[in-house]
Symmetry: C2
Subunit: 664 residues, 2 copies
């Protein structure tokens, strides 16, 4: 049955130009070409094989990752790949490794927080990987709250050194990727102590292991923190623990771009704005939003293809059963996720622009848009990662029983993705930051300081508090203005309602704590509005290709109306819409599903994922699922022998009623 294309009929139904959609998804023709080339390069190289990953015990798994990461670096050098190409190649290798932290956290920390001199000293070593670095911030007892870190860095003026120390068990560094077994150096965050006085948390470059024999240096205890969620997944990474017993480093290894410690142990602030750190946050979080759209689109691609292959029920007169994708229950769960993948792709693209904009302003000492940019990236990180984590698991369930097989790829995708909801800001904590920004914005309305950017709708607060939805028939919900106003009115009213409740508390902090669950809901409403409005903005652009824009309009409708239906309580409670209008939105949504249906396979083909990258038998491009599942089963180590190991010791004595004498 090799070579049969079970999805060929589906592809014939397509009503738009898939090749052009691929460009839209990639962001540009250039990006598409680089991605396509790198994806194929990885897919065709047997070293990067990953289908055996879930079967490996921890040590073998980790060793294999060392091999892949090192080999990838070798190839990057041999092929003289550009930074863009190298980064794509690493992402298509699709396996968390120490290199992620080296390039993604260690190098940027030195670039962002190191002085020119420090950069000149450390970056060339890092660029050639003559040293390998990690980012050691979180501790066993301290995650989200950086100010709670306990590790100390005490200046010793006698020797011109800092003494790095772990005073308690809970101060042990815990979680940093690449730390456990590989990194030779780390950027370590610690409480600066000068002459007995605390001066807040700062970063220090600390060598951890000998460059000769890789042994931990004196005073340093380092190890892996153990197994994490799932098989394969993040277990390829050596997240580590680290303890310091009075480890001494030269003074010039404190990262001193913002604050300096002088030879005589005084702290001095440079004229570099501290707000720079927000710029870095905006950068990191926008990459997380990009990654969310990728992870979600992978899951959706698998579930969509298999939903077209799989048939259940509905056979009449012994004919074939109905394709699962034709069931409305399937569509109503799958298509909103498909639409969300596209929505997150576009809002991620916009965030990339926002980061450039923020950076340029920072360089011109313009901090005016920073609070809004910070709130909006924090909120979008939270929203998109939460939806993606849930969406991967929903996609798995949409594949029925076979989604539970490791060979479906979905269990590992879920296990490797979910930490995104926790790292770089816990999603609930981030939404509370957005809520704080919203409350501040409401309190300043009318103060003459008009809200900017994604919050500018608040400038029309009076109109938004009073207007009523004008929808009369289902089709009216296709009007972008109707949808936008609905999301704006909902978000504005939820914020104002929270602000009113808050004002009844004499202690605002107490009120904020008491109402925090409601504040999170208001923040979610605000963030969903951003995604909806950026999707509409995307549709304002010139988008070439037969039927491409039309399909995106349909997806935009699905995205916004499924949210409207799911959260209809918000829209009804704020009295912006009537129950009848809510019902019309749902009718229109159902109609849109029918328009997605014939294009569903092409819409996931547009992601241009290789079978290697997708890593899923259920999602394979040709849809020839069952023979592949059958073959894969035989590769499980348990099938190495017909009679399982343990038969003689356990099964046979059991069957033969000889347990009394058996040694168990």
């Amino acid at each position: 049955m090799e070579g049969v294309d079970y999805l060929a009929d589906e592809r014939k139904k397509t009503e738009f130009d898939v090749e052009e959609m691929k460009i839209v998804w990639a962001g540009s023709r250039h990006t598409f070409e680089v991605s396509d080339r790198m994806a194929k390069l990885v897919a065709n190289d047997p070293v990067f094989r990953k289908d055996d990953r879930v079967m490996l015990a921890r040590k073998d798994l980790f060793k294999n990752t060392l091999r892949k990461a090192t080999y990838a670096w070798k190839r990057i050098n041999e092929l003289r790949l550009s930074e863009e190409e190298a980064s794509k190649l690493r992402s298509f290798v699709d396996e968390p490794a120490f290199t992620d932290l080296h390039w993604g956290m260690f190098v940027p920390a030195i670039k962002g927080q190191g002085t020119d001199e420090q950069q000149k000293k450390w970056l060339p070593l890092a660029y050639k990987m003559q040293i390998i670095g990690c980012y050691a911030q979180t501790e066993l007892g301290h995650g989200s709250n950086v100010q709670g870190l306990e590790t100390t860095a005490t200046f010793d003026p006698q020797t011109d050194e800092f003494v790095i120390h772990s005073p308690t068990l809970t101060s042990s560094k815990w979680w940093p990727g690449g730390l456990g077994k590989v990194s030779t150096h780390g950027v370590v965050y610690a409480r600066l102590i000068l002459d007995g006085q605390e001066h807040g948390i700062h970063g220090f470059i600390v060598q951890l292991r000998s460059l000769e024999d890789h042994r931990p240096l004196p005073g340093i205890t380092v190890a892996d923190i153990g197994m994490k969620f799932g098989s394969g997944a993040y277990n390829t990474m050596d997240n580590g623990l680290l303890r310091f017993d009075h480890v001494r480093i030269p003074r010039d290894q404190m990262l001193m771009r913002v604050s300096q410690v002088t030879r005589d142990g005084k702290i001095v602030q440079s004229d570099v704005p501290r707000q720079l750190v927000y710029g870095t946050m905006v950068y990191v979080r926008q990459t997380i939003v990009q990654d969310a759209s990728i992870a979600l689109s992978r899951a959706v691609c698998i579930a969509t293809r298999y939903s077209a292959v799989r048939r259940q029920f509905g056979s009449s007169n012994g004919g074939p059963e109905t394709q699962v994708i034709d069931y409305k229950t399937q569509q109503s769960r799958l298509f909103p996720l498909l639409a969300s993948a596209y929505a997150f792709r576009f809002v991620g693209e916009w965030l990339k622009w926002l980061y450039t904009d923020v950076t340029q302003r920072l360089q011109a000492n313009d901090f005016s848009t920073l609070p809004e940019a910070h709130a909006c990236t924090a909120g979008l990180k939270s929203l998109t990662t939460s939806v993606t984590a849930d969406g991967i698991e929903e996609s798995r369930k949409l594949c029925g029983g076979h989604g539970y097989l490791a060979s479906s790829g979905l269990p590992e995708l879920f296990a490797v993705y979910v930490p995104a909801c926790t790292y770089e800001g816990d999603n609930t904590v981030l939404m509370l930051q957005v809520a704080r920004f919203l409350m501040k914005t409401v309190s300043q309305l009318g103060s003459g300081k008009p809200p900017v950017g994604t919050i500018s709708y608040m400038g029309r607060i009076e109109q938004l508090m009073q207007c009523r939805c004008a929808v009369k028939k289902a089709g009216d919900w296709l009007n972008p203005n109707a949808v936008l106003e609905a999301f704006e009115a909902r978000a504005a009213r939820m914020s104002v309602s929270c602000a009113q409740k808050l004002s009844k508390f004499s202690n605002p902090e107490e009120g904020f704590a008491e109402l925090s669950a409601d504040l999170v809901e208001a923040a979610v409403a605000h963030c969903q509005l951003i995604v909806v409005s950026k999707f509409f903005e995307k549709l304002q652009q010139d988008i070439p290709g037969k039927g491409v824009k039309r399909q995106l309009e349909v997806l935009c409708g699905v995205y916004s109306l499924h949210l409207l239906h799911k959260h209809q309580g918000d829209f009804l409670a704020t009295s912006y819409i009537t129950p009848k209008q809510a019902s019309l939105a749902n009718d229109q949504l159902r109609e849109l599903y029918s328009q997605v249906r014939p294009n569903a396979i092409a819409l996931v083909d547009a992601f241009n994922y290789t079978d290697h990258y997708l890593g899923s038998i259920l999602g394979c491009y040709d849809g020839n699922v069952y023979p592949k599942l059958y073959e894969a089963a035989w590769r499980d180590p348990l099938n190495d022998s017909v009679i399982p190991d343990g038969y003689e010791q356990y099964i046979r004595p059991l069957l033969k009623q000889q347990l009394r004498v058996a040694k168990l």
Copy 2:
């Protein structure tokens, strides 16, 4: 730091009698005592150790499960345990194994579908485990739709045998637990063919492996289907694949309690009612609801204890940070899950009674309550497993980063639990069955056939369509009648609304398909009403112990009002409540969280789980989390050596810039 009880202060806050609550949770003093004894027996036996499970490669993992399952059987015999005790012991071993299917599916299938003669022949062998059986129904291409199975059983009148055959690849049996490596026999479901005519799906007892050397019998191909979700988890089970190449079995191995095939190849129906099969379904599904409350309570226990241990932010003047459990955002996510665990416990208890009632009626040839009982168990299976699966993952997220560690126990609990959403009826398919029952009930209203049992509220349809919520202040939502009426009105109105929309379709089946997503929502509303009303019924009972009933009332309030808030769109859209009343419900909910707070630890202590069974460092009874996490990390195989395997081949050449000559 051994022996410190970090939760002692929490336990002092308790306002009710925990020992009495343990009895309520267990169901009776007797059940509590049996459970407690069996849990301790397992916890104190080193053979049942499970903390190393996630680190084992598949073969070692499986062999270890063979050992545990066999050893458990040995202990059951040595201690002459009762059936109840044995079943508890197996559940506390907490590791999926072939014995689950042998006792849970193979034996019941023979009991339920075998004739007296067949039972006399096979059951004694099974009871002594001289044969080990599995339940081979699902196929590679066929899951939910039993009628789509392809395996054939063709009667050969010449030899008085059935010929069992797998005609296609998709007809391969796929998924049956215990099949892959252990079972000697299976109940195999196949399409009966007599003289070229099909006669539907029937069960057959087929020997699969030699009882002498365990080799598959001629014509039989059998193997494990490969790795599943997660590490440890369900990978201890040998879910199998099975193909038949014209395998012959004697005629008397067809299970013939309901239909017989005679010597001359004719099919004859016995007078045993076919509805019996529904009785079995009710039985199996009520056990799944019981299991849901157990799985959810384990996750909630872990998250609650760790939320009291963990501190983040909120430190003032260098004092300790705030316990995470004191944050309203944490409470608003955690306490509804805690309340759901109790709610599912009580509805499960009631389902057990329902099964007894249905069985007695079936024996008296009374089938009148069967459709209602079937719909309600199907719906509750779907509702409780969906909430539990999501709830475990939510509990994991509530533990922050450390919830991602395997030693938190939550990743494995999730991975081992989620198939419950798919097996024994996919949750969406089941909700559609409930919806079908609801639509039938609505269509028969006024026909003189009053709705019974959980659907009897539909008998008051006119009142429920017209009434309006009378709540005026937050406290009014504590009135059980107010809450019940709200849930009844919502469920009734959603059903009626669907029925009205359906009536506009000329083809009812087409309408049902088109509106299926809305029908599922109506079915969910109906099922939530059942859980709420059974919780209220529980509270009508005499419940001894200081403060016990009071606490349960608070939890019942949390359960119902969090649903009301979450689904406020339904309540508002059906115009039963006003936005103001919805907001009051939310205010009351917040107030109830404060009442749960001081009792939270005691409420999870009442589950009486041993640290062994819980299998979570974060959830350990004494709360002494951090030293235990630190110790556990060192047990990872990756920490066997300071320098990782792979350093010489990969890391060193990388650091030393010798990749060009390295062999990778």
